[in-house]
């Protein structure tokens, strides 16, 4: 099971406190989309942050490996790690409203990556940025390049962030709930755009979300996370046909359907929750010295 990104037994905790990620392992293959689902607080975003080296300062990686393109990032010194991550990975953030620097025009914010990472001359970078904006279906890209972030809508900003994530042709993109902060009508377009860009650029994508419906549309494989522990890693097709873990099965059953709008929502049964909680507790017992 080797992939472009593989995480092996990653354990992250609050410094001197609670466990955030418990022995997480997952693989994202080159050019494929891997979904990461779980309830809020399960640690989905923290996996992405651990890979990109932007974990909050209060957290520390206790053990495990993050192997990006064959190199364990944990063994590199900080400078080399930053260079490596910058050159091969990018982030599509959750909230497009805070992800662009409010005091700078859009153009420089996109070209900066090309200049910084690929060492392109400024003129070439600008031409490429225009191309990218067109590629994410932004009308009048030349005007948008000169705009400040607050002059654009949330959906526009998310398109710009997608363009800028793909700008330096990274081999891995981490999308951290990229549609959560958007209007429902815009969500669908953005989702389609991300898939489209991913397949055109042949990028590996780690797609963090709490929406199984979204996962079923864009992902090839997925991991289900509960309380910082991967309860199931599966290929898409198999997962939806035959989920193995009871928690996954309960999650699937809880998905509301459009075909029966009058049916009441199914909660995840308490027995299932107790079951996963027990597993997590057992895992902690084993991990404790």
């Amino acid at each position: 099971m080797s992939g472009y990104l593989s995480i092996r037994n990653l354990t992250v905790r609050l410094k001197g406190g609670a466990m955030i990620l418990r022995d997480v392992s997952l693989t994202v293959r080159a050019g494929q989309v891997h979904g990461l689902v779980g309830e809020s607080g399960a640690g989905k975003s923290m996996i992405g942050k651990a890979v990109l080296g932007t974990l909050p300062r209060a957290l520390e990686v206790v053990s495990g490996q993050i192997i990006l393109d064959g190199t364990d990032l944990q063994t590199l010194d900080p400078k080399e790690r930053r260079r490596r991550i910058g050159a091969s990975a990018a982030l599509i953030p959750q909230d497009p409203l805070t992800a662009l620097n409010p005091s700078k025009r859009i153009g420089p914010q996109i070209t900066r990556r090309l200049v910084d990472i690929l060492g392109w001359p400024k003129i070439a970078a600008e031409a490429r940025a225009l191309e990218l904006l067109e590629e994410v279906h932004i009308p009048d890209p030349a005007r948008v390049m000169r705009s400040y972030p607050h002059e654009l809508s949330g959906g526009m900003r998310q398109r710009i962030l997608i363009a800028s994530a793909f700008a330096a042709e990274p081999k891995l993109i981490i999308a951290d709930e990229p549609t959560t902060a958007l209007d429902v009508t815009v969500q669908k377009q953005i989702l389609r755009l991300i898939s489209e860009m991913q397949s055109r650029h042949d990028t590996a994508l780690l797609f963090v979300t709490h929406d199984l419906g979204v996962v079923s549309k864009v992902c090839d494989t997925l991991s289900v996370l509960y309380a910082g522990k991967v309860v199931e890693e599966a290929n898409m097709h198999r997962f939806f046909m035959r989920p193995i873990h009871p928690y996954s099965a309960a999650l699937l059953a809880a998905t509301p359907t459009y075909t029966d709008p009058t049916g009441s929502l199914t909660p995840v049964p308490q027995t299932v929750i107790d079951g996963v909680e027990r597993e997590v507790a057992e895992h902690d017992m084993r991990a404790a010295p």
Binding site: L52, T54, R83, G86, P93, N101, P102, S103, K104, D116
Partner: protein, 283 residues
């Protein structure tokens, strides 16, 4: 005019006009003091002591705002006093801003041990009563323009450090800072290109506020006779002198007081107005 809001044109509000106008007038007065001052601000004439301002009975032509008990022209002294006040405001304000904002930026963005050291320092510093601290400093350094400026920087940098630290912390938590780092920026580079431009409006507002504070501190020091030599006129010194004769010649006290008040008010209003204009977004 193009500001950070792009093509949007916005009228310069009354607040900016009035405060900017007063300060411009003051700068002009300070620069041209020797040309426009009707009298020598140091010339004493005991026969002309305590002459009232021009609209009152017994006013002496040529002494528009009256004279003090030594017969010195109040208007001329205010004009010359503006020189010192403005030099102190500009130099001390800017230096305070540089020191305080730099430390605040580092503390707020780097966090960890730099933050701990700087923040503890600020806490300790703020436990000293500022004016007493300044008086003590001047007593040690000896009176003079340099001492005043040093005293203001030393007592007031904490104001910048605290506010800018808080701002830098807020900005540092934004996603765009994280993406700059993922893109391979160094921490120092990120601080300069991502954080600094976004705390700049606050720095500008604080800077003008600080200029007003510097004028006040200088006046306080002159008031207690610890400013530069008593020969050159200062607003604080005039207020101190006017206080002793307020029942016989109120104008010696009131005119410098009004000037001081308007100047400090203008600085703070200018700061507010500029902040509104520079702030790139409805954050």
């Amino acid at each position: 005019m193009r500001d950070a809001r792009g093509e949007v044109k916005r009228p310069i509000g009354l607040r900016l006009w009035l405060s900017g106008g007063w300060l411009a007038l003051l700068v002009l007065a300070a620069l041209c003091a020797p040309l426009i001052a009707p009298n020598d601000p140091l010339m004493q004439d005991l026969f002309l002591g305590r002459m009232p301002p021009f609209w009152m009975d017994g006013a002496e032509p040529g002494f528009w705002l009256g004279t003090d008990s030594l017969g010195r022209d109040v208007l001329s002294r205010i004009l010359y006093g503006a020189r010192l006040a403005l030099i102190v405001a500009l130099v001390a304000g800017t230096l305070t801003c540089l020191v305080g904002a730099t430390l605040g930026l580092i503390a707020g963005y780097y966090r960890g041990w730099p933050d701990r050291i700087i923040s503890r320092f600020v806490d300790i510093w703020m436990a000293f009563p500022p004016v007493l601290f300044a008086i003590l400093l001047i007593a040690v350094l000896g009176p003079g323009l340099m001492s005043i400026i040093i005293a203001i920087v030393v007592i007031d940098w904490t104001r910048f450090a605290r506010v800018i630290r808080a701002e830098a912390m807020t900005q540092g938590a934004m996603d765009y800072v994280a993406s700059a780092q993922v893109a391979g920026r160094t921490r120092f580079g990120t601080m300069l290109t991502e954080i600094l431009p976004n705390v700049l409006p606050t720095i500008v507002a604080l800077l003008t506020l600080e200029m007003g504070v510097a004028v006040i501190v200088e006046a306080i020091l002159s008031f207690v006779n610890l400013s530069i030599s008593t020969d050159s006129p200062t607003w604080g010194g005039m207020i101190a002198e006017g206080r002793t004769s307020v029942h016989q010649a109120w104008w010696v006290l009131v005119f410098p007081l009004i000037t001081l008040f308007l100047t400090v008010l203008s600085f703070s209003q200018l700061g507010e107005g500029l902040k509104d204009r520079f702030d790139p977004v409805l954050r």
